[in-house]
Point group: C3
Chain length 212, copies 3
Protein backbone atom coordinates (compact mmCIF):
# COMPACT_ATOMS: atom_id res chain seq x y z
CA UNK A 1 0.00 0.00 0.00
CA UNK A 2 1.44 3.35 -0.98
CA UNK A 3 1.36 6.42 1.23
CA UNK A 4 -1.12 8.03 -1.15
CA UNK A 5 -3.58 5.16 -0.84
CA UNK A 6 -3.20 5.02 2.95
CA UNK A 7 -3.89 8.76 3.22
CA UNK A 8 -6.87 8.42 0.90
CA UNK A 9 -8.38 5.60 2.98
CA UNK A 10 -7.85 7.63 6.12
CA UNK A 11 -9.59 10.66 4.61
CA UNK A 12 -12.42 8.47 3.35
CA UNK A 13 -12.94 7.02 6.81
CA UNK A 14 -13.12 10.39 8.53
CA UNK A 15 -15.48 11.83 5.94
CA UNK A 16 -17.63 8.69 6.05
CA UNK A 17 -17.93 9.07 9.82
CA UNK A 18 -19.50 12.50 9.30
CA UNK A 19 -21.95 11.07 6.76
CA UNK A 20 -22.93 8.14 8.94
CA UNK A 21 -23.30 10.44 11.93
CA UNK A 22 -25.65 12.70 9.99
CA UNK A 23 -27.71 9.63 9.07
CA UNK A 24 -27.89 8.66 12.74
CA UNK A 25 -28.83 12.18 13.76
CA UNK A 26 -31.69 12.21 11.27
CA UNK A 27 -32.93 8.81 12.43
CA UNK A 28 -32.10 7.04 9.15
CA UNK A 29 -31.38 3.31 9.25
CA UNK A 30 -28.05 1.49 8.94
CA UNK A 31 -28.38 1.16 5.16
CA UNK A 32 -28.79 4.92 4.88
CA UNK A 33 -25.84 5.30 7.21
CA UNK A 34 -23.75 3.16 4.87
CA UNK A 35 -24.93 5.01 1.76
CA UNK A 36 -24.56 8.49 3.21
CA UNK A 37 -21.14 7.62 4.64
CA UNK A 38 -19.99 6.22 1.28
CA UNK A 39 -21.31 9.26 -0.57
CA UNK A 40 -19.46 11.60 1.79
CA UNK A 41 -16.24 9.62 1.81
CA UNK A 42 -16.10 8.66 -1.84
CA UNK A 43 -18.32 11.15 -3.71
CA UNK A 44 -15.72 13.88 -4.20
CA UNK A 45 -13.20 11.44 -5.62
CA UNK A 46 -15.75 9.83 -7.95
CA UNK A 47 -16.67 13.22 -9.43
CA UNK A 48 -12.96 14.04 -9.82
CA UNK A 49 -12.33 10.74 -11.60
CA UNK A 50 -15.32 11.19 -13.91
CA UNK A 51 -14.08 14.65 -14.88
CA UNK A 52 -10.50 13.60 -15.54
CA UNK A 53 -11.87 10.61 -17.42
CA UNK A 54 -10.55 7.62 -15.51
CA UNK A 55 -12.62 4.83 -13.96
CA UNK A 56 -13.56 5.92 -10.43
CA UNK A 57 -11.14 4.32 -7.98
CA UNK A 58 -13.98 3.80 -5.50
CA UNK A 59 -15.53 1.27 -7.88
CA UNK A 60 -12.40 -0.19 -9.43
CA UNK A 61 -10.47 -0.82 -6.25
CA UNK A 62 -12.82 -2.37 -3.67
CA UNK A 63 -10.39 -1.53 -0.87
CA UNK A 64 -11.89 1.98 -0.94
CA UNK A 65 -15.17 0.56 0.33
CA UNK A 66 -13.72 -0.69 3.61
CA UNK A 67 -13.56 2.72 5.34
CA UNK A 68 -17.27 3.54 4.82
CA UNK A 69 -18.26 0.10 6.12
CA UNK A 70 -16.05 0.57 9.18
CA UNK A 71 -17.46 4.06 9.68
CA UNK A 72 -21.06 2.82 9.55
CA UNK A 73 -20.22 0.12 12.12
CA UNK A 74 -18.44 2.58 14.40
CA UNK A 75 -21.39 4.95 14.32
CA UNK A 76 -23.90 2.12 14.75
CA UNK A 77 -22.26 0.73 17.84
CA UNK A 78 -20.93 3.89 19.35
CA UNK A 79 -23.27 6.62 18.22
CA UNK A 80 -24.11 7.77 21.74
CA UNK A 81 -20.40 8.15 22.43
CA UNK A 82 -19.52 9.63 19.06
CA UNK A 83 -22.21 12.21 19.59
CA UNK A 84 -20.49 13.50 22.69
CA UNK A 85 -17.26 13.96 20.79
CA UNK A 86 -18.53 16.47 18.27
CA UNK A 87 -15.28 18.39 18.48
CA UNK A 88 -13.43 15.20 17.66
CA UNK A 89 -15.65 14.77 14.62
CA UNK A 90 -14.75 18.25 13.41
CA UNK A 91 -11.09 17.34 13.76
CA UNK A 92 -11.65 14.12 11.81
CA UNK A 93 -13.48 16.03 9.10
CA UNK A 94 -10.56 18.48 8.98
CA UNK A 95 -8.19 15.57 8.39
CA UNK A 96 -10.35 14.42 5.49
CA UNK A 97 -10.39 17.92 4.04
CA UNK A 98 -6.62 18.31 4.30
CA UNK A 99 -5.91 14.89 2.82
CA UNK A 100 -8.34 15.13 -0.07
CA UNK A 101 -7.40 18.61 -1.28
CA UNK A 102 -3.78 17.54 -1.65
CA UNK A 103 -4.23 13.98 -2.96
CA UNK A 104 -7.02 15.19 -5.25
CA UNK A 105 -4.79 17.85 -6.81
CA UNK A 106 -1.89 15.38 -7.16
CA UNK A 107 -4.16 12.82 -8.85
CA UNK A 108 -5.31 15.43 -11.37
CA UNK A 109 -1.74 16.64 -12.03
CA UNK A 110 -0.48 13.07 -12.50
CA UNK A 111 -3.29 12.56 -14.98
CA UNK A 112 -2.03 15.50 -17.03
CA UNK A 113 -4.70 18.06 -16.20
CA UNK A 114 -3.69 21.71 -16.49
CA UNK A 115 -2.73 23.56 -13.28
CA UNK A 116 -5.99 25.47 -12.85
CA UNK A 117 -8.12 22.40 -13.47
CA UNK A 118 -5.94 20.47 -11.00
CA UNK A 119 -6.47 23.13 -8.37
CA UNK A 120 -10.23 22.97 -8.90
CA UNK A 121 -10.25 19.19 -8.87
CA UNK A 122 -8.35 19.20 -5.58
CA UNK A 123 -11.05 21.44 -4.12
CA UNK A 124 -13.77 19.29 -5.70
CA UNK A 125 -12.30 16.14 -4.14
CA UNK A 126 -12.11 17.83 -0.76
CA UNK A 127 -15.52 19.49 -0.58
CA UNK A 128 -17.57 17.43 -3.07
CA UNK A 129 -18.39 14.55 -0.74
CA UNK A 130 -19.56 16.79 2.09
CA UNK A 131 -21.61 18.85 -0.35
CA UNK A 132 -23.32 15.70 -1.65
CA UNK A 133 -23.93 14.57 1.93
CA UNK A 134 -25.76 17.79 2.77
CA UNK A 135 -27.61 17.98 -0.54
CA UNK A 136 -28.85 14.41 -0.29
CA UNK A 137 -29.78 14.79 3.36
CA UNK A 138 -31.74 17.89 2.39
CA UNK A 139 -29.63 20.31 4.41
CA UNK A 140 -28.21 23.73 3.75
CA UNK A 141 -24.64 22.83 2.75
CA UNK A 142 -22.18 23.20 5.61
CA UNK A 143 -19.77 24.29 2.89
CA UNK A 144 -21.72 27.53 2.43
CA UNK A 145 -22.02 28.35 6.12
CA UNK A 146 -20.87 31.97 6.36
CA UNK A 147 -19.78 31.41 9.97
CA UNK A 148 -17.35 28.70 8.94
CA UNK A 149 -14.36 28.92 6.67
CA UNK A 150 -14.34 25.54 4.97
CA UNK A 151 -13.42 25.77 1.31
CA UNK A 152 -10.62 28.29 1.80
CA UNK A 153 -8.12 25.88 3.41
CA UNK A 154 -8.82 23.32 0.67
CA UNK A 155 -8.34 26.02 -1.93
CA UNK A 156 -5.05 27.11 -0.40
CA UNK A 157 -3.80 23.54 -0.07
CA UNK A 158 -4.62 22.61 -3.67
CA UNK A 159 -3.04 25.82 -4.91
CA UNK A 160 0.15 25.11 -2.95
CA UNK A 161 0.38 21.58 -4.32
CA UNK A 162 -0.06 22.84 -7.88
CA UNK A 163 2.55 25.54 -7.33
CA UNK A 164 5.08 23.09 -5.89
CA UNK A 165 4.39 20.70 -8.79
CA UNK A 166 4.99 23.52 -11.27
CA UNK A 167 8.26 24.28 -9.56
CA UNK A 168 9.30 20.66 -10.03
CA UNK A 169 9.15 19.46 -6.44
CA UNK A 170 6.38 16.98 -5.92
CA UNK A 171 7.75 14.47 -3.48
CA UNK A 172 6.07 12.94 -0.48
CA UNK A 173 7.58 15.48 1.87
CA UNK A 174 5.86 18.31 0.02
CA UNK A 175 2.57 16.42 0.07
CA UNK A 176 2.76 15.67 3.79
CA UNK A 177 3.81 19.22 4.63
CA UNK A 178 1.00 20.82 2.69
CA UNK A 179 -1.53 18.36 4.12
CA UNK A 180 -0.37 19.20 7.62
CA UNK A 181 -0.48 22.93 6.88
CA UNK A 182 -4.05 22.71 5.59
CA UNK A 183 -5.04 20.75 8.70
CA UNK A 184 -3.54 23.40 10.96
CA UNK A 185 -5.17 26.18 8.91
CA UNK A 186 -8.55 24.47 9.18
CA UNK A 187 -8.24 23.78 12.90
CA UNK A 188 -7.17 27.35 13.62
CA UNK A 189 -10.10 28.64 11.58
CA UNK A 190 -12.43 26.52 13.73
CA UNK A 191 -10.81 27.56 17.00
CA UNK A 192 -10.83 31.27 16.26
CA UNK A 193 -14.02 31.27 14.14
CA UNK A 194 -12.32 32.89 11.18
CA UNK A 195 -14.62 34.10 8.46
CA UNK A 196 -14.56 35.06 4.84
CA UNK A 197 -16.43 38.23 3.93
CA UNK A 198 -19.71 37.77 2.13
CA UNK A 199 -21.94 39.85 -0.08
CA UNK A 200 -24.88 39.77 2.27
CA UNK A 201 -27.58 42.22 1.44
CA UNK A 202 -27.92 45.01 3.99
CA UNK A 203 -30.57 44.35 6.62
CA UNK A 204 -33.67 46.53 6.79
CA UNK A 205 -33.55 47.05 3.08
CA UNK A 206 -36.61 45.08 2.16
CA UNK A 207 -34.71 41.88 2.40
CA UNK A 208 -37.67 39.78 3.40
CA UNK A 209 -36.61 37.41 0.68
CA UNK A 210 -33.45 36.43 2.55
CA UNK A 211 -35.26 33.50 4.06
CA UNK A 212 -36.34 32.19 0.70
Amino acid sequence: MTWGLALDLLGTFFFAISGSLLAAKRGFDIVASLLLGSLTGLGGGVVRDLIIGRPPAAFNEPIHLIPPVLAALVVFFMSSHVQRFWTTILVFDAVGLAVFCTTGAVTALEFGMNPIASLLLGVTTAVGGGLMRDVVANHDPQLFNPRDLYAAPAFAGSALIVLIWQLGGAGNIALYSVTAAVLVFRLLSLKYAWRVPGAQFARGQGDGSAAS
Copy 2:
Protein backbone atom coordinates in the same frame (compact mmCIF):
# COMPACT_ATOMS: atom_id res chain seq x y z
CA MET B 1 -36.08 -6.20 -28.54
CA THR B 2 -34.28 -8.35 -25.99
CA TRP B 3 -35.74 -9.39 -22.66
CA GLY B 4 -33.19 -7.14 -20.96
CA LEU B 5 -34.32 -4.08 -22.87
CA ALA B 6 -38.00 -4.87 -22.33
CA LEU B 7 -37.45 -5.22 -18.58
CA ASP B 8 -35.46 -2.00 -18.54
CA LEU B 9 -38.19 -0.06 -20.32
CA LEU B 10 -40.77 -1.47 -17.91
CA GLY B 11 -38.71 -0.45 -14.90
CA THR B 12 -38.15 2.99 -16.40
CA PHE B 13 -41.87 3.47 -16.90
CA PHE B 14 -42.78 2.54 -13.34
CA PHE B 15 -40.08 4.72 -11.84
CA ALA B 16 -41.04 7.60 -14.15
CA ILE B 17 -44.63 7.32 -12.94
CA SER B 18 -43.42 7.97 -9.39
CA GLY B 19 -41.43 11.01 -10.55
CA SER B 20 -44.30 12.45 -12.56
CA LEU B 21 -46.68 11.85 -9.68
CA LEU B 22 -44.43 13.73 -7.29
CA ALA B 23 -44.36 16.61 -9.77
CA ALA B 24 -48.16 16.61 -9.87
CA LYS B 25 -48.39 16.45 -6.09
CA ARG B 26 -46.14 19.48 -5.76
CA GLY B 27 -48.12 21.43 -8.37
CA PHE B 28 -45.29 21.49 -10.93
CA ASP B 29 -46.21 21.78 -14.62
CA ILE B 30 -46.11 19.11 -17.33
CA VAL B 31 -42.54 20.00 -18.33
CA ALA B 32 -41.42 19.41 -14.74
CA SER B 33 -43.44 16.20 -14.76
CA LEU B 34 -41.53 15.05 -17.82
CA LEU B 35 -38.15 16.09 -16.41
CA LEU B 36 -38.74 14.62 -12.96
CA GLY B 37 -40.12 11.41 -14.46
CA SER B 38 -37.10 11.09 -16.77
CA LEU B 39 -34.69 11.75 -13.92
CA THR B 40 -36.34 9.09 -11.77
CA GLY B 41 -36.62 6.54 -14.56
CA LEU B 42 -33.28 7.10 -16.24
CA GLY B 43 -31.03 8.79 -13.66
CA GLY B 44 -29.77 5.64 -11.95
CA GLY B 45 -28.80 4.04 -15.25
CA VAL B 46 -27.08 7.19 -16.49
CA VAL B 47 -24.90 7.35 -13.37
CA ARG B 48 -24.11 3.63 -13.74
CA ASP B 49 -23.11 4.11 -17.38
CA LEU B 50 -20.94 7.14 -16.57
CA ILE B 51 -19.13 5.16 -13.89
CA ILE B 52 -18.51 2.09 -16.04
CA GLY B 53 -17.45 4.41 -18.83
CA ARG B 54 -19.92 3.71 -21.61
CA PRO B 55 -22.19 6.25 -23.32
CA PRO B 56 -25.42 6.46 -21.30
CA ALA B 57 -28.02 4.26 -22.99
CA ALA B 58 -30.72 6.80 -22.15
CA PHE B 59 -29.09 9.25 -24.56
CA ASN B 60 -27.71 6.84 -27.14
CA GLU B 61 -30.84 4.78 -27.62
CA PRO B 62 -33.84 7.13 -27.89
CA ILE B 63 -36.23 4.23 -27.19
CA HIS B 64 -35.44 4.74 -23.50
CA LEU B 65 -37.21 8.09 -23.65
CA ILE B 66 -40.59 6.64 -24.54
CA PRO B 67 -41.45 5.37 -21.04
CA PRO B 68 -41.00 8.78 -19.33
CA VAL B 69 -43.11 10.46 -22.01
CA LEU B 70 -45.85 7.86 -21.55
CA ALA B 71 -45.61 8.22 -17.78
CA ALA B 72 -45.99 12.01 -17.96
CA LEU B 73 -49.05 11.62 -20.19
CA VAL B 74 -50.60 8.99 -17.93
CA VAL B 75 -50.14 11.19 -14.87
CA PHE B 76 -51.36 14.28 -16.73
CA PHE B 77 -54.60 12.70 -17.87
CA MET B 78 -55.26 10.43 -14.98
CA SER B 79 -53.67 12.08 -11.98
CA SER B 80 -56.87 12.13 -9.95
CA HIS B 81 -57.21 8.41 -10.50
CA VAL B 82 -53.57 7.63 -10.04
CA GLN B 83 -53.66 9.42 -6.74
CA ARG B 84 -56.26 7.05 -5.41
CA PHE B 85 -54.10 4.09 -6.27
CA TRP B 86 -51.14 4.92 -4.10
CA THR B 87 -50.72 1.28 -3.20
CA THR B 88 -50.55 0.47 -6.89
CA ILE B 89 -47.80 3.05 -7.28
CA LEU B 90 -45.79 1.42 -4.53
CA VAL B 91 -46.12 -1.88 -6.34
CA PHE B 92 -45.00 -0.25 -9.61
CA ASP B 93 -42.05 1.30 -7.85
CA ALA B 94 -41.20 -2.11 -6.41
CA VAL B 95 -41.17 -3.54 -9.93
CA GLY B 96 -38.74 -0.81 -10.98
CA LEU B 97 -36.53 -1.52 -7.98
CA ALA B 98 -36.47 -5.27 -8.65
CA VAL B 99 -35.79 -4.85 -12.36
CA PHE B 100 -33.05 -2.25 -12.03
CA CYS B 101 -31.01 -3.93 -9.28
CA THR B 102 -30.68 -7.06 -11.41
CA THR B 103 -30.26 -5.53 -14.88
CA GLY B 104 -27.92 -2.91 -13.41
CA ALA B 105 -25.67 -5.56 -11.89
CA VAL B 106 -25.72 -7.63 -15.09
CA THR B 107 -24.81 -4.57 -17.18
CA ALA B 108 -21.82 -3.89 -14.93
CA LEU B 109 -20.71 -7.53 -14.96
CA GLU B 110 -21.00 -7.72 -18.76
CA PHE B 111 -18.87 -4.61 -18.95
CA GLY B 112 -16.13 -6.35 -16.99
CA MET B 113 -16.48 -4.58 -13.65
CA ASN B 114 -15.29 -6.48 -10.58
CA PRO B 115 -17.93 -8.28 -8.46
CA ILE B 116 -18.12 -5.72 -5.66
CA ALA B 117 -18.36 -2.79 -8.05
CA SER B 118 -21.07 -4.66 -9.97
CA LEU B 119 -23.05 -5.18 -6.78
CA LEU B 120 -22.79 -1.48 -5.98
CA LEU B 121 -23.69 -0.45 -9.50
CA GLY B 122 -26.78 -2.65 -9.35
CA VAL B 123 -27.83 -0.86 -6.18
CA THR B 124 -26.95 2.51 -7.75
CA THR B 125 -29.10 1.75 -10.79
CA ALA B 126 -31.99 0.72 -8.58
CA VAL B 127 -31.99 3.51 -6.01
CA GLY B 128 -30.17 6.33 -7.86
CA GLY B 129 -33.14 7.59 -9.85
CA GLY B 130 -35.43 7.77 -6.85
CA LEU B 131 -32.72 9.47 -4.82
CA MET B 132 -32.28 12.10 -7.55
CA ARG B 133 -36.06 12.55 -7.70
CA ASP B 134 -36.24 13.36 -4.00
CA VAL B 135 -33.09 15.48 -3.96
CA VAL B 136 -34.23 17.58 -6.91
CA ALA B 137 -37.74 17.93 -5.55
CA ASN B 138 -36.21 19.10 -2.27
CA HIS B 139 -37.50 16.19 -0.18
CA ASP B 140 -35.97 13.98 2.45
CA PRO B 141 -35.01 10.93 0.38
CA GLN B 142 -37.54 8.13 0.63
CA LEU B 143 -34.50 5.88 0.40
CA PHE B 144 -33.43 6.93 3.89
CA ASN B 145 -36.84 6.56 5.49
CA PRO B 146 -36.18 4.47 8.62
CA ARG B 147 -39.73 3.11 8.52
CA ASP B 148 -39.22 1.66 5.07
CA LEU B 149 -36.77 -0.98 3.97
CA TYR B 150 -35.92 0.10 0.44
CA ALA B 151 -32.24 -0.40 -0.36
CA ALA B 152 -31.96 -3.81 1.31
CA PRO B 153 -33.95 -5.77 -1.32
CA ALA B 154 -31.92 -4.08 -4.08
CA PHE B 155 -28.73 -4.94 -2.23
CA ALA B 156 -29.79 -8.57 -1.82
CA GLY B 157 -30.85 -8.85 -5.47
CA SER B 158 -27.62 -7.39 -6.84
CA ALA B 159 -25.58 -9.60 -4.52
CA LEU B 160 -27.45 -12.70 -5.70
CA ILE B 161 -26.93 -11.80 -9.36
CA VAL B 162 -23.21 -11.29 -8.79
CA LEU B 163 -22.97 -14.57 -6.87
CA ILE B 164 -24.77 -16.51 -9.62
CA TRP B 165 -22.54 -14.88 -12.25
CA GLN B 166 -19.44 -15.88 -10.28
CA LEU B 167 -20.74 -19.44 -10.15
CA GLY B 168 -21.06 -19.40 -13.92
CA GLY B 169 -24.83 -19.38 -14.26
CA ALA B 170 -26.05 -16.12 -15.70
CA GLY B 171 -28.91 -17.06 -17.96
CA ASN B 172 -32.28 -15.43 -18.30
CA ILE B 173 -33.90 -17.82 -15.87
CA ALA B 174 -31.55 -16.71 -13.11
CA LEU B 175 -32.25 -13.07 -13.93
CA TYR B 176 -36.01 -13.50 -13.92
CA SER B 177 -35.96 -15.54 -10.73
CA VAL B 178 -33.87 -13.04 -8.81
CA THR B 179 -35.97 -10.14 -10.11
CA ALA B 180 -39.13 -11.90 -8.94
CA ALA B 181 -37.55 -12.71 -5.57
CA VAL B 182 -36.56 -9.07 -5.03
CA LEU B 183 -40.08 -7.99 -5.93
CA VAL B 184 -41.59 -10.39 -3.42
CA PHE B 185 -39.06 -9.32 -0.75
CA ARG B 186 -39.90 -5.66 -1.34
CA LEU B 187 -43.66 -6.23 -1.32
CA LEU B 188 -43.48 -8.28 1.88
CA SER B 189 -41.36 -5.58 3.49
CA LEU B 190 -44.09 -3.06 2.61
CA LYS B 191 -46.94 -5.27 3.80
CA TYR B 192 -45.36 -6.15 7.12
CA ALA B 193 -43.49 -2.87 7.61
CA TRP B 194 -40.12 -4.55 8.03
CA ARG B 195 -37.35 -2.34 9.24
CA VAL B 196 -33.61 -2.21 9.39
CA PRO B 197 -32.10 -1.15 12.71
CA GLY B 198 -30.61 2.30 12.83
CA ALA B 199 -28.14 4.15 14.97
CA GLN B 200 -30.63 6.70 16.23
CA PHE B 201 -29.44 8.74 19.11
CA ALA B 202 -31.32 8.00 22.29
CA ARG B 203 -34.17 10.41 22.99
CA GLY B 204 -34.02 12.79 25.92
CA GLN B 205 -30.28 12.90 25.65
CA GLY B 206 -29.99 16.49 24.53
CA ASP B 207 -30.74 15.52 20.98
CA GLY B 208 -32.41 18.77 20.04
CA SER B 209 -30.25 18.73 16.97
CA ALA B 210 -32.10 15.74 15.57
CA ALA B 211 -34.36 18.05 13.60
CA SER B 212 -31.45 19.83 11.99
Copy 3:
Protein backbone atom coordinates in the same frame (compact mmCIF):
# COMPACT_ATOMS: atom_id res chain seq x y z
CA MET C 1 -12.02 33.41 -29.97
CA THR C 2 -14.86 31.94 -31.99
CA TRP C 3 -18.43 33.22 -31.84
CA GLY C 4 -19.42 29.99 -30.12
CA LEU C 5 -16.90 30.47 -27.32
CA ALA C 6 -17.84 34.13 -26.89
CA LEU C 7 -21.53 33.25 -26.62
CA ASP C 8 -20.72 30.49 -24.15
CA LEU C 9 -18.70 32.81 -21.93
CA LEU C 10 -21.52 35.35 -22.03
CA GLY C 11 -24.09 32.74 -21.03
CA THR C 12 -21.80 31.47 -18.28
CA PHE C 13 -21.42 34.98 -16.88
CA PHE C 14 -25.15 35.66 -16.76
CA PHE C 15 -25.93 32.31 -15.17
CA ALA C 16 -23.09 32.74 -12.68
CA ILE C 17 -24.56 36.10 -11.66
CA SER C 18 -27.79 34.35 -10.67
CA GLY C 19 -25.84 31.78 -8.64
CA SER C 20 -23.70 34.38 -6.88
CA LEU C 21 -26.80 36.47 -6.19
CA LEU C 22 -28.54 33.52 -4.57
CA ALA C 23 -25.46 32.99 -2.39
CA ALA C 24 -25.60 36.64 -1.35
CA LYS C 25 -29.33 36.43 -0.64
CA ARG C 26 -28.81 33.45 1.62
CA GLY C 27 -25.95 35.12 3.46
CA PHE C 28 -23.27 32.73 2.21
CA ASP C 29 -19.68 33.98 1.97
CA ILE C 30 -17.65 34.93 -1.10
CA VAL C 31 -16.27 31.39 -1.50
CA ALA C 32 -19.82 30.04 -1.63
CA SER C 33 -20.67 32.82 -4.07
CA LEU C 34 -17.84 31.67 -6.32
CA LEU C 35 -18.77 27.99 -6.02
CA LEU C 36 -22.49 28.52 -6.51
CA GLY C 37 -21.87 30.87 -9.43
CA SER C 38 -19.51 28.37 -11.07
CA LEU C 39 -21.96 25.54 -10.55
CA THR C 40 -24.77 27.55 -12.13
CA GLY C 41 -22.67 28.85 -15.00
CA LEU C 42 -20.70 25.70 -15.79
CA GLY C 43 -22.69 22.79 -14.31
CA GLY C 44 -25.00 22.22 -17.26
CA GLY C 45 -22.10 22.12 -19.71
CA VAL C 46 -20.05 19.78 -17.52
CA VAL C 47 -22.92 17.28 -17.34
CA ARG C 48 -23.38 17.56 -21.13
CA ASP C 49 -19.66 16.92 -21.70
CA LEU C 50 -19.61 13.95 -19.32
CA ILE C 51 -22.57 12.40 -21.14
CA ILE C 52 -21.16 12.89 -24.63
CA GLY C 53 -17.85 11.60 -23.32
CA ARG C 54 -15.46 14.49 -23.86
CA PRO C 55 -13.35 16.20 -21.18
CA PRO C 56 -15.47 18.98 -19.67
CA ALA C 57 -14.50 22.27 -21.31
CA ALA C 58 -14.90 24.07 -17.98
CA PHE C 59 -11.89 22.16 -16.66
CA ASN C 60 -9.86 21.78 -19.83
CA GLU C 61 -10.04 25.40 -20.97
CA PRO C 62 -9.45 27.68 -17.98
CA ILE C 63 -10.92 30.64 -19.88
CA HIS C 64 -14.35 29.31 -18.87
CA LEU C 65 -13.54 30.11 -15.25
CA ILE C 66 -13.21 33.84 -15.84
CA PRO C 67 -16.95 34.57 -16.05
CA PRO C 68 -17.79 33.04 -12.65
CA VAL C 69 -14.92 34.93 -11.02
CA LEU C 70 -16.15 38.17 -12.58
CA ALA C 71 -19.71 37.41 -11.53
CA ALA C 72 -18.67 36.78 -7.92
CA LEU C 73 -16.79 40.08 -7.89
CA VAL C 74 -19.69 41.98 -9.44
CA VAL C 75 -22.11 40.60 -6.88
CA PHE C 76 -19.69 41.17 -4.01
CA PHE C 77 -19.13 44.82 -4.82
CA MET C 78 -22.52 45.72 -6.17
CA SER C 79 -24.93 43.39 -4.45
CA SER C 80 -27.10 46.19 -3.08
CA HIS C 81 -27.43 47.56 -6.60
CA VAL C 82 -27.82 44.22 -8.28
CA GLN C 83 -30.62 43.44 -5.87
CA ARG C 84 -32.65 46.40 -7.10
CA PHE C 85 -32.34 45.23 -10.67
CA TRP C 86 -34.09 41.92 -10.26
CA THR C 87 -35.80 42.37 -13.61
CA THR C 88 -32.40 42.86 -15.19
CA ILE C 89 -31.25 39.61 -13.62
CA LEU C 90 -34.17 37.78 -15.15
CA VAL C 91 -33.21 39.19 -18.53
CA PHE C 92 -29.59 38.09 -18.00
CA ASP C 93 -30.74 34.65 -17.00
CA ALA C 94 -32.89 34.54 -20.16
CA VAL C 95 -29.78 35.32 -22.21
CA GLY C 96 -27.99 32.40 -20.57
CA LEU C 97 -30.92 30.11 -21.25
CA ALA C 98 -31.14 31.12 -24.91
CA VAL C 99 -27.40 30.80 -25.48
CA PHE C 100 -26.94 27.45 -23.74
CA CYS C 101 -29.88 25.62 -25.33
CA THR C 102 -28.51 26.40 -28.80
CA THR C 103 -24.77 26.03 -28.19
CA GLY C 104 -25.44 22.91 -26.09
CA ALA C 105 -27.39 21.27 -28.91
CA VAL C 106 -24.75 22.27 -31.49
CA THR C 107 -21.97 20.83 -29.32
CA ALA C 108 -23.80 17.51 -29.06
CA LEU C 109 -24.55 17.41 -32.80
CA GLU C 110 -20.93 18.20 -33.68
CA PHE C 111 -19.89 15.36 -31.40
CA GLY C 112 -22.03 12.97 -33.41
CA MET C 113 -24.90 12.44 -30.96
CA ASN C 114 -28.24 11.43 -32.42
CA PRO C 115 -30.88 14.17 -32.93
CA ILE C 116 -33.02 13.33 -29.92
CA ALA C 117 -30.03 13.06 -27.60
CA SER C 118 -28.76 16.40 -28.96
CA LEU C 119 -32.10 18.02 -28.24
CA LEU C 120 -32.01 16.69 -24.67
CA LEU C 121 -28.40 17.73 -24.18
CA GLY C 122 -29.26 21.24 -25.36
CA VAL C 123 -31.99 21.39 -22.72
CA THR C 124 -29.62 19.84 -20.14
CA THR C 125 -26.97 22.47 -20.86
CA ALA C 126 -29.55 25.24 -20.55
CA VAL C 127 -31.40 24.19 -17.41
CA GLY C 128 -28.84 21.92 -15.69
CA GLY C 129 -26.80 24.67 -14.05
CA GLY C 130 -29.82 26.44 -12.61
CA LEU C 131 -31.22 23.15 -11.37
CA MET C 132 -27.93 22.38 -9.60
CA ARG C 133 -27.91 25.88 -8.13
CA ASP C 134 -31.33 25.38 -6.56
CA VAL C 135 -30.68 21.80 -5.47
CA VAL C 136 -27.40 22.70 -3.79
CA ALA C 137 -28.86 25.80 -2.18
CA ASN C 138 -31.67 23.61 -0.85
CA HIS C 139 -34.45 25.37 -2.78
CA ASP C 140 -37.44 24.17 -4.72
CA PRO C 141 -36.08 24.31 -8.28
CA GLN C 142 -37.12 27.44 -10.13
CA LEU C 143 -37.22 25.17 -13.15
CA PHE C 144 -40.30 23.44 -11.76
CA ASN C 145 -42.17 26.61 -10.80
CA PRO C 146 -45.63 26.15 -12.32
CA ARG C 147 -46.06 29.92 -12.59
CA ASP C 148 -43.03 30.24 -14.81
CA LEU C 149 -42.43 28.72 -18.21
CA TYR C 150 -38.70 28.06 -18.16
CA ALA C 151 -37.80 24.78 -19.82
CA ALA C 152 -40.20 25.19 -22.76
CA PRO C 153 -38.20 27.95 -24.57
CA ALA C 154 -35.01 25.89 -24.14
CA PHE C 155 -36.81 22.83 -25.46
CA ALA C 156 -38.12 24.76 -28.48
CA GLY C 157 -34.71 26.29 -29.17
CA SER C 158 -32.83 23.00 -29.02
CA ALA C 159 -35.47 21.33 -31.19
CA LEU C 160 -35.16 24.09 -33.80
CA ILE C 161 -31.36 23.80 -33.88
CA VAL C 162 -31.58 20.05 -34.34
CA LEU C 163 -34.17 20.46 -37.08
CA ILE C 164 -32.08 23.03 -38.94
CA TRP C 165 -29.01 20.78 -38.58
CA GLN C 166 -30.94 17.84 -40.01
CA LEU C 167 -31.97 20.00 -42.94
CA GLY C 168 -28.32 20.76 -43.59
CA GLY C 169 -28.22 24.40 -42.55
CA ALA C 170 -26.16 24.89 -39.44
CA GLY C 171 -24.36 28.17 -39.99
CA ASN C 172 -23.85 30.99 -37.56
CA ILE C 173 -26.88 32.87 -38.87
CA ALA C 174 -29.15 29.98 -37.91
CA LEU C 175 -27.55 29.79 -34.49
CA TYR C 176 -27.89 33.51 -33.81
CA SER C 177 -31.46 33.60 -35.09
CA VAL C 178 -32.62 30.70 -32.94
CA THR C 179 -30.82 32.11 -29.90
CA ALA C 180 -32.56 35.45 -30.42
CA ALA C 181 -35.93 33.74 -30.92
CA VAL C 182 -35.55 31.76 -27.70
CA LEU C 183 -34.62 34.95 -25.86
CA VAL C 184 -37.73 36.73 -27.17
CA PHE C 185 -39.90 33.70 -26.34
CA ARG C 186 -38.53 33.60 -22.79
CA LEU C 187 -38.92 37.36 -22.25
CA LEU C 188 -42.48 37.32 -23.57
CA SER C 189 -43.30 34.41 -21.30
CA LEU C 190 -42.03 36.44 -18.36
CA LYS C 191 -43.86 39.60 -19.38
CA TYR C 192 -47.20 37.91 -19.96
CA ALA C 193 -46.79 35.21 -17.31
CA TRP C 194 -47.39 32.39 -19.75
CA ARG C 195 -47.88 28.99 -18.22
CA VAL C 196 -47.75 25.37 -19.15
CA PRO C 197 -50.63 23.24 -17.90
CA GLY C 198 -49.86 20.90 -15.04
CA ALA C 199 -51.38 17.81 -13.58
CA GLN C 200 -52.16 19.36 -10.24
CA PHE C 201 -54.45 17.33 -8.09
CA ALA C 202 -57.84 18.96 -7.62
CA ARG C 203 -58.15 20.99 -4.45
CA GLY C 204 -60.52 19.91 -1.70
CA GLN C 205 -59.96 16.32 -2.63
CA GLY C 206 -58.08 15.28 0.43
CA ASP C 207 -54.88 16.66 -1.00
CA GLY C 208 -53.34 17.60 2.28
CA SER C 209 -50.22 15.92 1.00
CA ALA C 210 -49.66 18.63 -1.61
CA ALA C 211 -47.34 20.42 0.76
CA SER C 212 -45.25 17.33 1.37
